[in-house]
Every structure is written in structure tokens, then in C-alpha cells.
């Protein structure tokens, strides 16, 4: 099933950027399939297209040519509004710099994606509590980001990413701003989400140690993938 119906499938994807009079090709007829339940680390030199790949997978950016399907659902033809609704229901984003709202508490930050659902306040509160429990921050619900360490803030960001129960988590350098110990904690949580909850994870990283937590590593170079399997 995973081979025929992968979580992510890119077919003949091309993406170019125009800078002044110069057009830079990032991907040219790129193909990729990521099975359901996979945990993929994407590595590569700066400018190789790692973040662009995440943007395309998350419906943040658009392809110039080709098709993108996530969970058998084509997203390359969706309008901005449709993409927003699709992201809310299907994708969880984790950023390098956490990107929490400074004026909101941890619980309120986690609750943000649920404002887009029809859940009642009580149901939202239950989900927020569950998500924060998964990342080990059930006792920090009322803390604001500035009152938490970087590792704790990233855990709140993970809780925010999973609270609406998306199938695909997209992580852009999730440990890039953390010390080793905090990074390991975050990566362990991602492994847990992948292993125990079956979330498909695509993680962009420069850190080989972080990549070791993934099931496999895709090396991106000049718009092409070079795959290397890791021991589980």
C-alpha cells in the first residue's frame, strides 16, 4: 500500500526563482515518493532546495510544473483559500525558531490551529492538554514563550503542530537553535510521534546527529536526491 499510495508524491516537479534578470532552477522534473509512516531527513548544502521542498510539500509555495499529491490529494491546483484549509487539516509545521506568539500562553499557542475547527472550547482544551502532555509540558500551560527555554518552546511548537492530528509533519531545522541535550529531547519526541503515533515526518536538517533519528536520509544536491538508508 505504501508504495502505491505514498503519503507524499512529487511527479516531474519543476521550480524556478527569478532574481533580477536571472532565472535559477531549483528543481527540474523532480520525482519523490515518501511512504506513510516514514521519517525522512533531508540534508544538503545551503541553496540546494531543502526549504523550497518543504514549502512545496506544505502548500506554502507553488510548483512551476509537475504534480504534488499528499495522501493521494493533489495540492498543486488548489487556490490559496483551499490550500489554507488543507494545511489546517493535514499538515503540522515545526520551525527552527519555534515561531510562537509571544503574547499567548503555551496552551493558547497550541490552541491556535484549533480555532480553525468547529470544536467547542472544552474539546479544544482537552486536545491542547493531550498535545502538551505528549511533549511533556502539561505543567507549563500558562507559561508564555519568554518564560520557557528554547527546548521547551520547541516542544510547545511540536504540540501546536500535532494538536489538530495531521498526518504529515514538516520540520525545518527543528533543532537548529538548540543545545545538544534539548535537540536530542526534541528528536526523541519526533521519533515517538513517528513510531508510536504513525506520523509521517519530513525533516530538513544540517545536523548529521539529528538526521540519525530519521529512518532514512535524502541528500539533496543540485535539485536531485541521493538516498541513504539508516539503521532503524
Amino acid at each position: 500500500m505504501t508504495a502505491e499510495h505514498p503519503m507524499v508524491r512529487l511527479t516531474g516537479v519543476s521550480k524556478r526563482f527569478t532574481k533580477g534578470k536571472e532565472t535559477i532552477s531549483i528543481f527540474d522534473h523532480l520525482d519523490l515518493a515518501i511512504p506513510r509512516g516514514d521519517f525522512v531527513a533531508v540534508m544538503g548544502p545551503s541553496g540546494s532546495g531543502k526549504t523550497t521542498l518543504l514549502n512545496l510539500l506544505g502548500g506554502i509555495d507553488r510548483v512551476d510544473a509537475g504534480e504534488i499529491a499528499v495522501a493521494d490529494h493533489r495540492i498543486d491546483g488548489l487556490s490559496e483559500g483551499e490550500l489554507a484549509a488543507w494545511r489546517a487539516a493535514n499538515i503540522g509545521f515545526i520551525f527552527q525558531f519555534y515561531n510562537l506568539m509571544p503574547m499567548l500562553t503555551a496552551a493558547q499557542n497550541v490552541e491556535l490551529p484549533l480555532l480553525l475547527t468547529k470544536l467547542r472550547s472544552k474539546e479544544r482544551a482537552e486536545r491542547v492538554h493531550t498535545a502538551l502532555s505528549v511533549v511533556g509540558l502539561a505543567d507549563r500551560v500558562k507559561h508564555r514563550p519568554r518564560e520557557m527555554s528554547g527546548g521547551q518552546q520547541q516542544r510547545v511548537a511540536i504540540a501546536r503542530a500535532i494538536v489538530s492530528d495531521p498526518n504529515l509533519l514538516l520540520c525545518d531545522e527543528p533543532t537548529g537553535d538548540l543545545d545538544r541535550q534539548s535537540a536530542d529531547e526534541i528528536l526523541s519526541i519526533l521519533q515517538l510521534l513517528n513510531g508510536e503515533l504513525g506520523k509521517t515526518i519530513v525533516m530538513v536538517t544540517h545536523d548529521p546527529a539529528a538526521a540519525n533519528y530519521a529512518k532514512r536520509v535524502l541528500h539533496l544536491d543540485k535539485g536531485r536526491f541521493v538516498e541513504r538508508e539508516l539503521a532503524a
Partner: protein
């Protein structure tokens, strides 16, 4: 939490900045409330004017007298239902600074013409008509000075003198005039023209102006032309106009109140518009990355637009409503002391509603450009800007 909580928390993330903006908007709406209250008071006469009432004054200006003989000639004009007249007395009580709006009137006809505005109990009106040395006093004025029926008050004039040389007319209060509606001003005193004319030292047999009621507003133009033509080329030519036009012209003696209000309020609002608009734009620009994150989470462009507009409208309401409330308190505090100059000075419900509409407009105008920018913001650009 809901979208409103998010809007509120965003607005107050920089408390000092939010408070300063609120205070500046508060001051603008306080100015608006006070000036609009003044404007309303000045033009209240226009609003209260009856469509079938007209005023005839000396063509030179309304301070110049006309012969009382005009009264009976105007009564005979076809299309005129009733005519009365009045003479400005220039009154004050005890001290020249205690201005009293006192008019010498013909009582029989005066209360007929103004029967829809004022009422005096029949026995009091009859007492007033019987006693030429009596007066009827508006309820507001009576309350202000604590006057009651039977009191004898010395009314001074800063224009007229008695034949005996004095400037004081002693009048007995025969009745209290009540307004038939809440907005009717009763801050005046009426006494008998016959007594006034008989005792004054100059200007005998002249009157200040005539108030006439036509049989129908459709006859107004024809009646006015007939009256003014009747006295053309005389020593006292007349000018007849509707009561509303007369009230407007009277208010214009004090300057173009509407223009003054418009200029002051306009200047305040343009200033506030620029300050708040610039601050909102800055505030949204500071949050570019966060807006990108909200969009990444699935918040649509229109929803972001609504939230930013909500923030600017909330800001305008938080400043504007207390501003209007303070204006209302100022009006209440000054109402009595300004009763003679601008009776009815108040922040009315209409002004409050206009203010509310202005607040919403201010919020939408100051927020629209940042809101549109936020709505159109590309997520990749927003997140890359960080």
C-alpha cells in the same frame, strides 16, 4: 480563546504604544463630542422649526424695529392663519452677567402660534393675560433661579429704560411655561408687550419681529412675497422667511459653526488618522513573521484581513467611546452655565451614533492598508523575512 481574544492580545502586546494611541483617539472623540454638542445646540432652533411658521423682520436686520401697525396688516394677508410678535428686551437679573432671555409679547396670539411647543396651565395663562405687570417664565429658567408663581422679580434691561428713567421692570410671575417635548428649550421669560410699550422711554409702537403661521407650508412662498411687497419702499421694509431659515441665519451671526466644527474635528481626525495608520502599519510589519505562521497554520487571507481590521476598529472604539463619554460629562457639567448661550448643549444619542460610525470608519481606514498587506503577504516571504 477565539479570534477576538487574539485581536485583543495583539493590540495590547505593546501596552504603552496601545495606551498612547487610545489616548490620542480619546482626545479626538472628546473634541468631536463637545463640538458636535455645541453645533447641535446652535442649530436646535432649525430642527425644532415648524414648516408652517415664518418670521418677518426688518429688512436691514432683525435688530431694527418695525411699526406695530404691520401686525394687523399681516393678519389680513391671505394664507396667514395667525400672527404674533415679540420685542427683544435685553434682560438681566440683579447683575448684568445674569443674562435673561426676556421678550415682550402679545400673549393672546403668542401661545396660539407656539401651541405645539409650549403649554401653560389655563388658569396661569388667564392670570398672565389679566395682569399687565406679570410674566410667565420657562420651567428651566424658573428652576435656575428658584422662582415660583407669585414671586415678584426685578427685571433689568441693558437696552431700554422706563419713562421714569429706571432700567428695571418689576414683574410678578403668573405662570410657568413647560415644553411639550424634552428638547424644547424653556430658558426664557415672557411679559406683556402692552405694559412694556406703555412704560418704555423710546421706540413706542414698534416691534422686533413677527411670527406668522400659514394655513399650509405650500403657501409660505406666496405669503412671504405678499408681505414683503406690501412694505416695499416704506421706511421699514421687511424680509420674511421660514422659521428654519431665520434660525439658520441667526446662528450664522456667531460665525459658521458647521465649518468651525468641521475644520477642528477634521484637523484632529486627519492627525489621528496619520498617527494611528502609521502605527498600525508599523505594528503589522513587526508581526510579518507571525502573520506568516498564522497562514502556515491555515488561517486564510480574508481571516487575517478581518483580524487586522478588527484590531484597528477595536482600538478606535477603545479610544472613541470613553472620549464621547467624557464629552458627555463635560456637556453635563457646562449645561447650566451655558444655558443662556447654547441651551440644550448635550451629547445627544444622535451624536453618540455619529461618533460610533466615525470610530468604525476611523478603524477601517487606518487598518485597511496594513490589513490588505497582511492578507496578500506570501508565507514564504513572511517566514524568510524573520
Amino acid at each position: 480563546m477565539n479570534d477576538f481574544d487574539l485581536v485583543r492580545k495583539n493590540l495590547f502586546r505593546r501596552k504603552l504604544r496601545a495606551c498612547l494611541m487610545i489616548v490620542s483617539i480619546l482626545i479626538a472623540f472628546m473634541i468631536f463630542g463637545v463640538l458636535a454638542g455645541f453645533y447641535r445646540a446652535f442649530t436646535a432652533g432649525e430642527d425644532a422649526a415648524a414648516a408652517d411658521r415664518m418670521i418677518t423682520v426688518n429688512k436691514i436686520n432683525f435688530t431694527q424695529p418695525m411699526p406695530i401697525a404691520y401686525f394687523n396688516r399681516v393678519r389680513a394677508v391671505e394664507g396667514v392663519r395667525q400672527v404674533t410678535f415679540a420685542n427683544w428686551f435685553g434682560g438681566y437679573y440683579q447683575d448684568p452677567k445674569n443674562f435673561i432671555m426676556a421678550l415682550a409679547v402679545e400673549p393672546n396670539t403668542y401661545f396660539d402660534v407656539y401651541r405645539s411647543e409650549f403649554e401653560v396651565p389655563l388658569e396661569q395663562l388667564q392670570a398672565f393675560m389679566r395682569d399687565r405687570g406679570s410674566a410667565v417664565v420657562g420651567e428651566s429658567l424658573a428652576q435656575k433661579w428658584g422662582w415660583k408663581i407669585g414671586d415678584r422679580i426685578p427685571l433689568n434691561s441693558n437696552i431700554f429704560s422706563q419713562k421714569s428713567g429706571g432700567h428695571t421692570w418689576d414683574l410678578t410671575i403668573a405662570g410657568i411655561i413647560k415644553g411639550k417635548a424634552q428638547h424644547v428649550d424653556t430658558n426664557f421669560l415672557l411679559f406683556q408687550y402692552a405694559y412694556f410699550d406703555e412704560t418704555r422711554s423710546f421706540g413706542k409702537d414698534t416691534i422686533g419681529w413677527m411670527i406668522l403661521q400659514t394655513t399650509s407650508p405650500e403657501n409660505n412662498d406666496r405669503v412671504a412675497k405678499t408681505i414683503d411687497a406690501m412694505f416695499a419702499n416704506s421706511t421699514a421694509e421687511t424680509s420674511t422667511d421660514t422659521e428654519k431659515a431665520f434660525g439658520k441665519a441667526f446662528a450664522a451671526q456667531f460665525g459658521n459653526i458647521a465649518l468651525i466644527v468641521l475644520l477642528v474635528v477634521g484637523a484632529a481626525f486627519v492627525t489621528i488618522l496619520m498617527i494611528v495608520g502609521n502605527t498600525m502599519a508599523l505594528s503589522i510589519r513587526e508581526r510579518t513573521r507571525e502573520i506568516g505562521v498564522l497562514k502556515t497554520l491555515g488561517f486564510s487571507g480574508p481571516r487575517i484581513l478581518t483580524m487586522v481590521l478588527g484590531e484597528s476598529v477595536l482600538l478606535a472604539l477603545l479610544g472613541g467611546i470613553p472620549g464621547l463619554a467624557i464629552a458627555a460629562l463635560i456637556a453635563m457639567a457646562l449645561r447650566n452655565s451655558l444655558a443662556n448661550v447654547v441651551p440644550g448643549f448635550a451629547v445627544s444619542p444622535t451624536i453618540a451614533l455619529q461618533g460610533l460610525a466615525l470610530m468604525i470608519a476611523l478603524g477601517l481606514i487606518t487598518g485597511i492598508i496594513p490589513a490588505l498587506n497582511a492578507m496578500r503577504l506570501k508565507i514564504a516571504t513572511a517566514l524568510g523575512r524573520g
